[in-house]
Structure formats: structure tokens, C-alpha cells
Amino acid sequence: MTTESALRYAYYPGCSLSTGAKEYDISVRAVFAQLGIELVELEDWNCCGAVHAGVNSAEAGVVLPARNLALAEAQGFDTVVVPCSGCYLNLRRAGKRVAADKGVRAMVDEHLKDGLELKGDIEVLHPLYALLYDYGLDRIKAQVVNPLSELHVASYYGCMLTRPRDVFDSPERPRGLDDVARALGAQVVDYPMKAKCCGGALALSHSDVTATLTGNILVSAKDAEADVVMLACPMCHTALDMYQGKAERAIGHSLNLPVLYFTQLMGLALGLDPDSLGFERHLVSPKQELVRLGF
């Protein structure tokens, strides 16, 4: 899979990255460009359905994500990079189901517009895994110009990046983000809640649940003396950053723990302009940490 030949992927941003999580979108594109990896945004992509697409119709829960894979094939790609953990799971799973079951493939094709079909031999990767397994950590390490040696990073994995169990990382003791943080020269802190759920799925309907689960994670990271939390999912970011105020009220004390996307920290370490990485868009400002690091 990995060689010196230039990597080129279809890119599925998903709904969050085109609106609320624009800073993740910006930093993924910037980092991949800096590393010489080509990302081509999928034309006319649709919502993957999150956890709701199949709530009325089980078929729709497969067809909605599968349409994006069919588009990727039609647009000449063999791999799609998907930065939202929820979208990543939906697309990856739809691809697997179509590949494994002719009946599912026929059902999907029947629901797609004429001329569009899914052959099912398309790979779906989270950008973290594209970097780790297609590109290679050593090559990233070699391009670090600003080692983040003064930064204590708590990697937060959430759920759908590593679960259900897949081939890339451990669902119980994941390490992919920690490996990236170390390659950037940062100090990795270990803490027990790194793979526990933030409750982001219930952020609107049961926000108290989200606040409590998120509070437990942030307290755990803070106790481990993290300066920042680093993650790879816009839903997790919504919970840990945007709901941090509610989490503080739920646990009864303040936290003030900046929550950054792993691609933002990669951008800093790789020498990209800090002003181009969207740090000003977070509700919990990371400014103090950036200044301390000399950015």
C-alpha cells in the first residue's frame, strides 16, 4: 500500500466539516497538501445519515452512505478519506456490507439513480489511518519543523474511530493518536477515559447526559495534567469543546481545557501558519497554550 508514489484520495468532508467543524476541514486539507497527499472532494456527496438514517427504514441506513461510495467509484477513486468518525463508520460499514452480500448490493443499486451503481470494492479510511498506514509515521516525523515538546497532550479517541472492532487500532486501548502526538514531539499523557463515550449523540435531546459524560472525560484528562485534548471527530469536538461549559456546571468546577483536532497540531508541527488552522473557532480558546509554545 505505501510507497513513494503520490497518494490521491477522494475526500468526503461530511456535513459537520462543511459547517460547524470547518476548522477540522481546513486543517485536514492543509496538512494533507503539505505532506503531498492529494484530496479531491467528492462531487455531490450526501449526508451519511449519522445514527438516524435507518430509524424509519433499515434500507435507507445502508443506501444513504453507500451512494457516496458509488459516487467515488464513478469519479474514478479506489479510496475515500472520511474525517468524521461517525461518517467513517457509516461509509466503511456500507462498503463492507455491499462487498459481502449480493442481495444488499442489488438493494443499493435499486435505490440509486439510473447509471449509478456500487461495485463494492472501495476502501474507506479515516485520515488518521491514511496517514499512519498509507503514508507512514516516519515520513511525518521527518517533516516536523516545530516539535511540540512543551505540550502535554491527552489523545481522545471517542467511539467510532476504533469501534466496532476493525483492523486499524485497539477498541479498548487505542494508540493511533498517541503515536501521531509523539511523532510531533509532544508529551503524551495517559488517562483512563480516553476511549470512553462523550455522549455527543444525545447532545440536543438529553444534553444533561452529554454534559456528564463529557465532564468525566475532561476531568480525567485534566487530572493527568494535560495541556490540551487532541481528537479526530467533530461530534466529540462538539461535546468536549462546545459543551465544556455545560460539563463544568455538571461537575461543579471549571476546566478550561482546550480541545484541538489532531490535524491542527500536525499543522503547527509541520510549520503551517497558525492563523490558517482555525484555532480562533473553538469555544474554549487555545490561545494561551499557543502563545506559551511560541506560536
Partner: protein
């Protein structure tokens, strides 16, 4: 496509076993690893272990009228650890669908799921302001809404809420998929103070549908000028 009250005599257990997540429910021997791993077990009436047991016992009303599947956060901790490989998280999603189709659902998350599905069906992509609008029109929970206003203002100031929906070239393509088509499309009741279960569902949200379509139509017209 037939309505739910047809003559087939399938038991609840059989119905569950026909779903993707429910195939292996009879494999459960009740070890409780799922409930012990669940981050929202305190929010649940039964928890996954007892839900599995109740399914095995054919207790349709108890299972489908509980709110447990609506509190599931889809974290896959239970499924990952299940020694019998039961896909419990997927099962929870299948139970959501069954509880909606049979008119048992009564949880705010059920309303949120419908608000989300309707928005995606209309645009092909998510549009947060519309999802939020449709959701609060369904639950009519002003206290909750008021609690969200400060966060909503912060999000607006940070440019995290879009003003216009993004749409597909041909949103009709998504209509083909039937995201909102259910055996029975509406939820039993969405009001937070309702504790009923299994009652006749009544159509809700039709007024909002009209308002939303109008709003979306205007937004799209405005957007046409700006966007590509």
C-alpha cells in the same frame, strides 16, 4: 410496505431476529458484560442485558415502550465486549425502528431522529438550524430551548451555524431512498410529560413541515445567487 396490522403471526422475538443487529439474540446467556460496559446504564430502565432477556421472553411492549434504546449513545462498548458476538449497539438501532413503526416510541431522542431524517430527506445534507427548528417544534420544550440559547449565540458568533442549507444537485435522488418512509411514519407522542405507551399515534409536525418547506425554499432561492 404493508401496514403493521396485517395477518402475519410473527412473534416479537422472530421480528427482532430478522433485523441486522438482532440475529444472535438467542445466543445471550446473560453475563451482563454489556450492561457493565454501558456508559449510560444509569439512564436506562432495564439496560442491555435485561433488554436481551425480555426479547428472548417475547415481551414486546416492555421492550419497545421503554426509553432504553433512545438513551443508547452508539458507543459500541457493549458490542465490542460481548462474548457471544451479539451486535447489541446495532440491535438498539433496530429497536428504535421497531418502536417507531409500532407506535411505542416516546422519547425526545425519537423526535430528534425524525427531525434529522426529515431534514436529510429534504436537502440530502444536514442543515443544523432546520434540524433544531424541527426538533423543538416537535417537542415543544421551551425550558430546554431556553437552556440552549446561550450556546446557540456563541455558535453563531463563531460562525458554527450555517444560514443556508447545502443541497444536492438533484435532491430527488435522496427521496428514492425513503429516509422518512416508515411502516408508520409518526411518533406516538413527543411531549416530555407523556408517559404513555402503545397508544394510537397521531400525526404531528405537519404544520412545521409546511413552514420548513417554505423556509427552505426561500433559503435555496437566496443561496442559488451566491453559491456556485
Amino acid at each position: 410496505m404493508a401496514a403493521g396490522n396485517q395477518t402475519d403471526e410473527k412473534t416479537f422475538l422472530e421480528e427482532v431476529m430478522e433485523t441486522e443487529g438482532g440475529r444472535l439474540v438467542l445466543q445471550c446467556y446473560g453475563c451482563g458484560t454489556c450492561s457493565g460496559s454501558c456508559p449510560v446504564i444509569d439512564e436506562m430502565e432495564y439496560g442491555p442485558r435485561r433488554i436481551l432477556y425480555l426479547i428472548q421472553q417475547n415481551q414486546e411492549a416492555a421492550v419497545l415502550s421503554s426509553t432504553d434504546m433512545w438513551r443508547c449513545v452508539s458507543c459500541y462498548s457493549c458490542a465490542n465486549r460481548c462474548p457471544r458476538d451479539i451486535q447489541i449497539t446495532d440491535l438498539m438501532a433496530d429497536l428504535r425502528r421497531l418502536s417507531l413503526a409500532k407506535g411505542y416510541a416516546h422519547d425526545k431522542e425519537a423526535e430528534f431522529a425524525q427531525a434529522f431524517a426529515e431534514t436529510v430527506q429534504l436537502h440530502g445534507r444536514m442543515f443544523e438550524p432546520e434540524v433544531i427548528g424541527r426538533y423543538y417544534a416537535r417537542v415543544l420544550d421551551l425550558v430546554d430551548l431556553a437552556g440552549m440559547v446561550p450556546l446557540g449565540i456563541k455558535m453563531l458568533l463563531k460562525g458554527k451555524l450555517p444560514f443556508l442549507p447545502e443541497r444536492l444537485e438533484d435532491p430527488k435522488e435522496i427521496e428514492l431512498m425513503g429516509v422518512t418512509d416508515s411502516v408508520a411514519p409518526k411518533i406516538a407522542t413527543g411531549l416530555r410529560f407523556s408517559g404513555n405507551s402503545g397508544g394510537k399515534r397521531r400525526p404531528r409536525g405537519s404544520m412545521w413541515n409546511g413552514v420548513a418547506s417554505l423556509f427552505a425554499g426561500i433559503a435555496i432561492k437566496l443561496g442559488k445567487g451566491k453559491a456556485s
